[in-house]
Symmetry: C2
Subunit: 108 residues, 2 copies
C-alpha cells in the first residue's frame, strides 16, 4: 500500500487542515482538563513530580504526533482515528482511496 507520495487537491488540503485542527483542539482540551484535575488533587511531592512526568510524556507525544506534512498525513490521521480524536466521517471530502487507507491503517 503506497501512502506517502500522495497528491492533495486544494479541496482536500482544506478538509485535511480542518480535520487536523479539530483533532488537535480536542486532544489539547482533554489534556488541559486532565492536568487541571491532576493538579487540584496534588497533596504530596511525589504527585507533583508525577504531574511533571505526565506533562513531559504528553508534550513529547503531542509534539511528535501532530505533524502536518502531506507525506505523512495519512498515517497521522490513522493514528488520530485510532485514538478517538478524529472520526473517519470528518475526513469526508478527501479522495475515497485516502479515506480507505486511513481506515485500514487505523485498524492496525
Amino acid at each position: 500500500m503506497q501512502v506517502t507520495d500522495t497528491q492533495w487537491s486544494q479541496t482536500e488540503q482544506e478538509v485535511a487542515k480542518a480535520a487536523f485542527d479539530k483533532a488537535y483542539e480536542r486532544e489539547i482540551n482533554a489534556l488541559i482538563l486532565e492536568v487541571r484535575e491532576q493538579a487540584s488533587a496534588i497533596a504530596h511531592l511525589d504527585q507533583m513530580w508525577g504531574l511533571h512526568d505526565f506533562l513531559s510524556a504528553r508534550r513529547h507525544d503531542i509534539d511528535g504526533k501532530y505533524d502536518y506534512r502531506y507525506s505523512v498525513l495519512i498515517f497521522v490521521f490513522a493514528r488520530l482515528v485510532k485514538e478517538g480524536w478524529l472520526k473517519l466521517e470528518e475526513l469526508s471530502g478527501l479522495d475515497t482511496d485516502k479515506i480507505k487507507k486511513v481506515a485500514a491503517l487505523s485498524r492496525m
Copy 2:
C-alpha cells in the same frame, strides 16, 4: 572562612535535621499551592507547557538544593535563610560559630 570540614554533635545533627525538614516542607507546600493555582488558570496550550517548564525548573532546583551532607550543610542553610524558607532562629542549638557562618553567607 572554613566551613566544610565542620564537626556536628549529636544535638546539632538533630537541630540541623529538624530545620532542614522544616524548610523543605515549607518550600514544597508553597510549590504545591503555586502549581495548583497555575494549573487551575490554564486555558491555552502555551500555559500548559509553561507549567511544564516551571515544574522542570523547580524540580531541578529543589533536587539540587536540599543536599543533606554535613560538608555542605552550612551553605544549604545559608541559601534557605536567604530565600526565606528558614529563619536563623530555627538553627538555635547549633554551635554559635556555625550560626554566624550561616548568617554571614546568607547575606552574600
